[in-house]
Structures are given as structure tokens and as C-alpha cells.
């Protein structure tokens, strides 16, 4: 994955490279043209000066030729050649190359070829000035361009880091906060202010979103809590009505069985209701008191209260425990242990033992079963099929919630026909 800032950096660098590479021939062309232009001007000026100065000199024709010969041999850039009147040259400007014996290289020259008259006699004047070679100019322009490209890229890297550090800081802070945000924990989120419009808009949008979600979440939790409370009174009335009905003097076997069925279903509703309320309370952190307890004692208490229930199904509860100190809410620990043990007894095979063992910081409940449960659905509310009529569908969700709150890890495996629930404390 690329960082957002690296994206424009790459593009900018490539763009700069293309522009700079394109600029090399342009620079070369411009520099060369200016150069040639300048040299042409220079050559013209020299010609004018020669013309002017030579007029001032008053010499004999024979002396003149001698002087010009000396000139020609001493001054390499300027050459006079006497002309016949018939072969007068027109002015011309061109570039020529010639081999330089001394530098052992080919030099480039800008040449002005013209005809001047000295004492009415035509002379062919060739003024040639050394020009920088094409490849040399090109090379220098390319080196300079490469240098500036390097400077540009280094500048980009530096600026990129600076922008990232300063301007993007609020963004990364926001990101960090969002990562840590947990709807369940009822936290307030404080996003850092930014002087960048987009970040400020992002923060405003996020704050609104989070507030709305938190509100909806809290309303939902409160709704569940209120609904459960509201259900308690009609449930209480139904339960007492069933009790009153049981006292009826015309009670017969059939009626008695119906009342028993009503009672067991009422018990089921109140179980679901109580569990919903309990779950809402746990999620609302309404069990904040913590105390030092011992896991071994807590397990023994739970086993004690459920031995009857197990014996009724021919189940022997076998324990292999060590003392393990815990700092937690004792009510929640009790609920957790009760849930796991009743589950083991309820779903275990008749006349088979239920085992509770401890290994280091792990508490393990295992009971015999026919086939593995679906682990992905196990801890989801009401996800377990309702064919098991006595199930509230909430027991394991509650267990999971309790474990999550205490940062314990609950897991399920199916080994050798045994359902195994283990909690790492």
C-alpha cells in the first residue's frame, strides 16, 4: 500500500523529469541561437572596425599586400584574400568546422564571409570565430538539468515530509482515535482541530456520525432495559394467577398439567427477560464493583448449587482444581460459571460425567456430546436453534460479554466426542 502523500510525489517527480528532459533540447537550441547571433554580431562589428580603421591607414599597395599577408599569418580568425573585380563575394554567414591541430579536436566556427574594398581594390574578408561545439553545449545543459532535477526531487522529499508532519498530523491523530474507538465503551471522542478545510470537515462529519451512533446505541440499550422492566409486572401477574389457579377446588389432573406447562413456559419467558436485562446491565457497566476472589472456591460453590440438577440426569460433576486468585466482580463470575455448568449439564449426554479442570490460567468445562456445535454462531444472541425449547439463547452471549469485559478469553472446541469450553483468565 502506498501512502497518500507518496502518490503525488511520484507523479510530480515523473512530471518534473519529463519537463526537464524536454527542456534540454530547448535550452540547447536557445543557447546555441543566442550564441550564434551574438557571434554574428561580433563578426559584423569586427568587419566594420576593420573597414573603418583600414581606411585611416594610408599605405602603398605593395606595402598593403605585405601587411595583409603578415596579418593573415598572425591573426588566425581573420583572413584577407585579394579578389578580381569579377569575382566579388556576396556577404554570407555560415558555420564551419575545422580540425584543430593543437587541441586535437574538431572546432566549430561561425564565419562571416564578405568583400571589403581597400583603396578601391576588392578583398575577400573571412572572419571566423570559435563557437562552443554542439555536443559540449548539449552535455553542459544536460548536466545542469540533471543537477536541478536532483535538487527538485530532494526538495520534494523534504517538503513531503514536512507537509506530512505538520498538515497531516491532525488526520493521523483522528485516525488513531477512530482505531481506538469502541461504541460499547461509551467513550467521548475528542478530535483535534485543524486549519485545513478538508480535515475540519472530516472531523465534523465523524463527530456527528459518532454522536448519532452512540445515541442510537444507547437508546437501543435503554429500550431493551425498559422493555425488560415493563415485562416483569405482567409476568408477575401471570405467575401469581397460575398459583391461584392451582388452588382451585375443582383442580383435576388435566388442569394441573396445563398449569404446569404454563408455569414452565412462564419460567422460560422470565429467564429470557432476566438474561436480556442482565446483558443490558453488563453492557452498561452496571457491575463495577470488583473484589479479590478465588476461582476454585467460586467453581466449588457453583458445582454445589448444581449437583442436584446434574444427578437428576445421572451426571457426575468431577473437579480437578487448584487455587487461583482473581480480581473481578463476583456476581458476574458466578453468572459465568453458572452458565457454563448448566450448559454442560443441559446439553451433555445422560449418565456421562461433566469434567471441570484447571490448567495454569485455564478453566475447562467438558461434557460428552454427539456432534460439534457451530462455533461461529455459538456466542451470538438468539442464534442457536429454538428447537431446544428450554434455551434462552443468551447464556453464551452473556458469558462472552463477561469474558470480554474482564479481558478473559473464552473458546470452544470439540475433541473426541467432548464439547470443551475453556476460559483463559
Amino acid at each position: 500500500m502506498n501512502r497518500l502523500l507518496d502518490k503525488p510525489f511520484q507523479s510530480f517527480s515523473i512530471y518534473a523529469l519529463i519537463i526537464l528532459v524536454c527542456s534540454i533540447p530547448v535550452y540547447y537550441f536557445v543557447v546555441d541561437t543566442i550564441w550564434l547571433d551574438e557571434l554574428d554580431e561580433h563578426n559584423t562589428i569586427i568587419r566594420q572596425q576593420i573597414e573603418q580603421n583600414i581606411r585611416k591607414i594610408d599605405t602603398q599597395e605593395s606595402d598593403l599586400d605585405k601587411t595583409l599577408n603578415i596579418w593573415n599569418s598572425l591573426q588566425p580568425g581573420i583572413a584577407f584574400t585579394p579578389l578580381q573585380t569579377s569575382e566579388i563575394y556576396k556577404d554570407s554567414i555560415y558555420t564551419a568546422t575545422s580540425y584543430n591541430k593543437f587541441a586535437k579536436e574538431t572546432d566549430r566556427f561561425r564565419v562571416l564571409s564578405t568583400t571589403i574594398f581597400i583603396q578601391k581594390k576588392p578583398y575577400h574578408l573571412v572572419i571566423s570565430t570559435n563557437v562552443e561545439e554542439t555536443d559540449e553545449t548539449l552535455l553542459v545543459v544536460a548536466i545542469i538539468t540533471a543537477f536541478f532535477f536532483l535538487v527538485l526531487v530532494l526538495g520534494f522529499v523534504f517538503l513531503n515530509k514536512r507537509i506530512a508532519r505538520n498538515s497531516w498530523k491532525p488526520f493521523y491523530r483522528t485516525l488513531e482515535q477512530l482505531k481506538r474507538f469502541d461504541l460499547n465503551k461509551d467513550q467521548h471522542i475528542e478530535l483535534e482541530e485543524s486549519d485545513i478545510l478538508e480535515f475540519e470537515e472530516l472531523n465534523t462529519a465523524l463527530t456527528t456520525l459518532i454522536e448519532k451512533n452512540t445515541l442510537a446505541f444507547n437508546q437501543q440499550k435503554r429500550f431493551i432495559e425498559n422493555a425488560s422492566h415493563e415485562l416483569q409486572t405482567p409476568l408477575a401477574i401471570l405467575k401469581t394467577k397460575a398459583d391461584v389457579l392451582l388452588q382451585n377446588e375443582h383442580l383435576n389432573e388435566k388442569l394441573s398439567a396445563i398449569i404446569a406447562a404454563i408455569n414452565s413456559n412462564l419460567a422460560r419467558i422470565s429467564r429470557i427477560n432476566k438474561n436480556m436485562l442482565l446483558l443490558a446491565k453488563i453492557e452498561n457497566n452496571q457491575f463495577p464493583e470488583k473484589a479479590n476472589t478465588n476461582l476454585k472456591e467460586a467453581v466449588e460453590e457453583t458445582v454445589d448449587s448444581l449437583t442436584d440438577y446434574g444427578l437428576n440426569k445421572g451426571m457426575d460433576i468431577r473437579m480437578d482444581l487448584q487455587s487461583y486468585p482473581l480480581y473481578c466482580n463476583s456476581t458476574l463470575l458466578e453468572v459465568l460459571l453458572n452458565n457454563l455448568l448448566t450448559n454442560a449439564i443441559r446439553h451433555g449426554e445422560v449418565n456421562q460425567p461433566v469434567l471441570i479442570s484447571m490448567k495454569d490460567n485455564k478453566l475447562i468445562f467438558s461434557n460428552r456430546g454427539k456432534q460439534a456445535l457451530k462455533p461461529e454462531q455459538l456466542f451470538v444472541r438468539f442464534a442457536i436453534s429454538s428447537s431446544e425449547t428450554t434455551n434462552s439463547g443468551l447464556g453464551l452471549s452473556i458469558s462472552k460479554e463477561i469474558c470480554d469485559q474482564n479481558r478473559w478469553k473464552i473458546s470452544y472446541t470439540f475433541i473426541d466426542h467432548f464439547h470443551v469450553f475453556s476460559i483463559e483468565f
Binding site: 408477575a236 391461584v244 388452588q247 398449569i259 442436584d308 437428576n312 448448566t342
Partner: protein, 224 residues
């Protein structure tokens, strides 16, 4: 014995009153905070059943009132909230017991029975019933001069029956009485049967008349 039922839900209050009347209790009903405070100020009761959420006021304020008047009435809080704070607060202010809705009438009666016993027989705490003598403090039961060795659960069941004479009690109610909150979690209450059977066997074995009857396989009754 006089009982004040402070409950705004009329149906519930009436059923409680009807059930308790059959147990030789004289019941009065107060449907809101004002009625309740009037009755409390002018009359004394052996036991007050107090709902916390009332029209025109909170039940805990009535508890404070009773405490301020240094009254000895037994108080059982009956609440739909089942919130631990309310329970602790109520018991601290001076309530004798706390019962969460929904509950079985037999459970309520057993609680009332126990509260009234505690209030009345501070020192001896002995309940006699025909040839049966129950010592609530030492938790022992004797038939004539024979000591009946009961387990804790059997003893609890016996108290429930003694508090609900001539009433049919469902197996469900017995299970809730024995296991408390856990009873809700259990898928069947058959284990109660074993305890009732053992209790019956031990009592008759010690020479007690068999008062404990099974009613159509689903309930039990302490019949006189």
C-alpha cells in the same frame, strides 16, 4: 396477623391478598404512595410488602419513614427492577427481605412467614406444628423426641410447606425456592422430586403423620 400490601398493580395486589387470606393473614392494600404512608402512620402491621416504584413516590421513602418512626414492622421489598443497588440500599435502610418480580405466591408466603417468625420469636425461634417441632436457629427438626436429620434443602422445603399450609405448590415454585436465581437457568425441575421424596420418607420414618401430598403429579401440598 396483619399484612399491608403496597402495590400499584391491582390484579397482583388482589391475588396476593386472596392467597394470603387463606393463610390466616389479614390483608390491606395500598395502591399508591399517599395511601401507603397514611396507613403506615395510623396502623401497625406484622409485615409490609413494599413495591419500590409507586405512583406519587418511591418505596424507599416509606422505608425511611418507618425507620424514623422506629417501627418494628417487618418489611419485604418487592421490586420489578431487581437492581443490586436497590436491594442493598433497601436492606440497609431496614427492610428484612427482598423479592424480585416475578415470584411465586408460595415463595412470598414463605418469606412473610420467616420474617414474622424472626420478628416475633427473637430468642427461641421455635415453630411447632402438631407433633413437629422446628428450631429455626439451630435448623433442627424433631418429631416428639426423635431428631429428624434433614439436609439443608430438605429443611428449606419443610419451611416452605409450613408457610403454605393447605396450598398446592408447583414443582416450579419449589425449584425456585431451592435454587434461587439459578432455577431460571435449569431446563427441568425434576430434581425437586428427589428432595420431596426424601423429606417425606424421613418425616414419616420419625413417626410424623404424612401431611405431604402429591397433587396430580405436578404439585405438592402440606395438608392438614
Amino acid at each position: 396477623m396483619k399484612i399491608l400490601i403496597i402495590e400499584d398493580e391491582h390484579e397482583l395486589a388482589q391475588d396476593m391478598a386472596d392467597y394470603l387470606s387463606g393463610q390466616d393473614y389479614l390483608c390491606e392494600i395500598a395502591a399508591d404512595f399517599n395511601q401507603a404512608s397514611n396507613k403506615i402512620i395510623f396502623y401497625e402491621y406484622d409485615c409490609i410488602l413494599l413495591d419500590l416504584m409507586l405512583p406519587f413516590g418511591n418505596g424507599l421513602q416509606l422505608l425511611e419513614l418507618l425507620k424514623a418512626e422506629k417501627r418494628m414492622d417487618g418489611v419485604i421489598i418487592i421490586s420489578a427492577k431487581n437492581a443490586l443497588e436497590d436491594k442493598i440500599k433497601g436492606l440497609q435502610i431496614g427492610a428484612d427481605d427482598y423479592l424480585a418480580k416475578p415470584f411465586h405466591l408460595s415463595e412470598l408466603t414463605a418469606r412473610i412467614y420467616s420474617v414474622i417468625r424472626r420478628k416475633q420469636f427473637d430468642n427461641s425461634n421455635i415453630v411447632t406444628h402438631e407433633e413437629l417441632t422446628v428450631d429455626l436457629l439451630s435448623k433442627t427438626v424433631t418429631v416428639g423426641s426423635n431428631l429428624v436429620p434433614l439436609t439443608k434443602k430438605e429443611f428449606d422445603l419443610l419451611l416452605l410447606f409450613l408457610g403454605n399450609k393447605n396450598k398446592v405448590i408447583s414443582r416450579n415454585a419449589l425449584a425456585e425456592h431451592l435454587s434461587g436465581d439459578i432455577a431460571d437457568m435449569l431446563d427441568n425441575h425434576d430434581f425437586v422430586y428427589a428432595h420431596v421424596k426424601n423429606l417425606k420418607k424421613k418425616l414419616t420414618g420419625a413417626g410424623c403423620t404424612n401431611y405431604l401430598k402429591t397433587v396430580y403429579g405436578t404439585g405438592y401440598k402440606w395438608e392438614l
